[in-house]
């Protein structure tokens, strides 16, 4: 259980959180949305005990700041911007697993599933990895440790479709443990299919708190077929990025889309709506992860 009671945070004269009231029960998967400056990151930092604030925040009855180790021991966190750590990947994994009292092999195994060869990059400085590799490694650390709360700030933003599909599968495994998830994004379509509750912040207050249909399977796949009016290089490039194949003419395309990624996929297609003549998404036709 996470509780925010009349939480306010002011930076100089700028009130970023304004008597925020929120209760999150175990097992909820929450999309935290809002425009830039709405207070999402500040709220997360208060929850992580990184900011001081007025009011009270409690995680399973404990305030995060004075009980850092107990509270943070239960929270896996993926930041929006990977930190510019100069330490090698191996050192980061050693440090994270040691302070979290978790097994490094679990983090490495998850990194492997996301397509990272930790063995090869062990001595490489974290800061030198690509954006996607950094994100995968931070996800591996957050998911590879014992935690019952996951806080993720735009976690899938830098991932390719294949890695996103695996990531959704990893999150699905956490559902069995009744893990609470708080996924922050400034775009609802990025995270809508992952969650069962949407909270929108604006100027530090909750302006929308909505339960959403929870029917999308995190591991489900949709078989997709597309027909184009004419071959077009830009859409061909975009579809290849989603691992789609064409029939040779560049007009007929088929592939699979991860269930939680459907809105994102349709969003991508909307850019080419003028040359689309047929789209089908079949929930029963895709492979299960």
């Amino acid at each position: 259980m996470i509780e925010f009671k009349k939480v306010s945070k002011t930076f100089k004269r700028n009130r970023v959180l304004d008597e925020l009231e929120l209760t999150i029960t175990p097992g909820e998967r929450i999309a935290l949305v809002g425009s830039n400056g709405a207070g999402k990151t500040t709220m997360i930092r208060c929850l992580l005990g990184e900011y001081t604030y007025e009011g009270s925040v409690a995680v399973h009855g404990l305030a995060p700041r004075p009980n850092r180790q107990q509270v943070l021991g239960k929270i896996g966190f993926v930041p929006q911007l990977p930190p510019p750590l100069k330490m090698p990947v191996g050192q980061l994994l050693d440090f994270s697993s040691a302070v979290c009292n978790s097994e490094k092999s679990r983090m490495e195994e998850i990194a492997g599933r996301l397509g990272l060869d930790v063995g090869k990059m062990r001595n490489q400085p974290f800061v030198k990895l690509s954006g996607g590799q950094k994100q995968k490694l931070l996800i591996s650390i957050a998911l590879g440790r014992d935690s019952n709360i996951l806080i993720m700030d735009e976690p899938a933003a830098n991932l390719d479709p294949e890695a996103r599909q695996i990531f959704f599968g990893l999150l699905a495994e956490r559902l069995e443990n009744n893990t609470t998830m708080l996924i922050s994004s400034h775009r609802l379509d990025e995270v809508s299919a992952l969650v069962n509750r949407v909270i929108e912040l604006d100027r530090g207050k909750v302006v929308l708190d909505d339960r959403v249909a929870d029917d999308v399977s995190l591991t489900g796949m949709l078989a997709c077929r597309l027909t184009l009016r004419r071959p077009e290089e830009s859409i061909a490039k975009a579809l290849t990025g989603w691992n789609f194949r064409d029939n040779g003419s560049g007009l007929e395309w088929q592939g699979s889309v991860a269930g939680p990624d459907r809105l994102r996929f349709v969003g991508m297609l909307s850019r080419y709506v003028g040359i689309l003549t047929h789209i089908s998404l079949d929930e029963n036709g895709g492979d299960q992860v």
């Binding site: 001081t52 930041p79 510019p84």
Partner: protein, 275 residues
């Protein structure tokens, strides 16, 4: 305790990869190499010859370089890490704030002190090989002085990093602190005495509150036990503390200042916003 050592190790590994550390190590290693290369062990000044002369020169150069190097590199790195979001991520892991702060300080102390010490040790070992007599008492005392001085400026740097919210402000503050100490070595002090007709004791007390001056005077003490080069100020120091007393003061005072500043920094760090 485990997390303290883990944090210290993390900082050591980060520093070993940083450019500032490479330059830092090259500067101190280079100084010793240059002093040997220019035959300083064979020059005779104030009756000193051999490694003693080299150590005296080395400690004076350390006094000029070490404080500003420690101050700037530490505030840059700590405030820079905070600005870049390193704190946001690493402090989301279950590490206590005390383990984090003191672990970082310990790690940094190791990387700041070791190159300075190893350069001096290397010089002494090379002297043994070259059959030059090594003044071990001087070596030990200078090691203590360097250790105390590194701790002192590291503590001040950690306090400044905690107080300043940006790298620029932290760097500016570090430079001002260093400059103030430098000016209080002689220039301002002379001005105070002349303009304000201050009692010599007051001027000497102000000087002895300045860690840089303490370091300089304590370094002089080994080859000038009566502090003749200081002039009348030597009488006040000798009457108040005596030679041995001042040598002990030279080790203890910077260490106390460093510890007080670091402790103040820790309480402020714990009280405020972390990232």
């Amino acid at each position: 305790m485990k997390n303290l050592w883990l944090t210290a190790k993390l900082d050591v590994v980060e520093s070993l990869r940083a450019r500032w550390f490479m330059i830092y190590t090259l500067v101190f290693g280079g100084i010793v190499a240059m002093l040997f290369a220019f035959g300083l062990t064979e020059s005779r000044v104030l009756g000193f010859i051999g490694l003693s002369r080299l150590l005296v020169t080395y400690i004076q150069l350390c006094m000029a370089i070490l404080p500003i190097f420690v101050l700037i590199s530490t505030v840059r790195s700590v405030a820079g890490d905070r600005e870049a979001g390193v704190f946001e991520y690493l402090l989301s892991l279950p590490v206590s704030l005390s383990a984090w702060f003191w672990g970082k300080l310990l790690g940094r102390y190791i990387v700041v002190f070791l190159p300075v010490f190893l350069a001096m040790l290397g010089a002494s070992l090379w002297s043994l090989v070259q059959d030059i007599e090594v003044p071990w008492n001087m070596f030990l005392y200078y090691t203590g002085l360097l250790a105390a001085m590194a701790w002192c400026f590291l503590g001040i740097a950690m306090l400044l990093s905690t107080l300043a919210r940006s790298t620029d402000v932290a760097q500016g503050a570090a430079f001002v602190v260093w400059l103030a100490m430098l000016l209080f070595l002689d220039l301002i002090l002379l001005g105070v005495m002349i303009q304000g007709h201050a009692a010599p004791e007051v001027a000497v007390m102000i000087a002895l509150a300045n860690p840089l001056q303490v370091f300089r005077t304590a370094a002089l003490m080994l080859f000038d036990p009566q502090l003749i080069v200081l002039g009348p100020a030597a009488y006040v120091i000798m009457d108040t503390m005596g030679a041995t007393g001042f040598m002990i003061y030279g080790l203890v005072y910077p260490f106390v200042i460093g510890t007080l500043c670091a402790t103040a920094g820790y309480f402020m760090f714990r009280r405020g916003d972390l990232p």
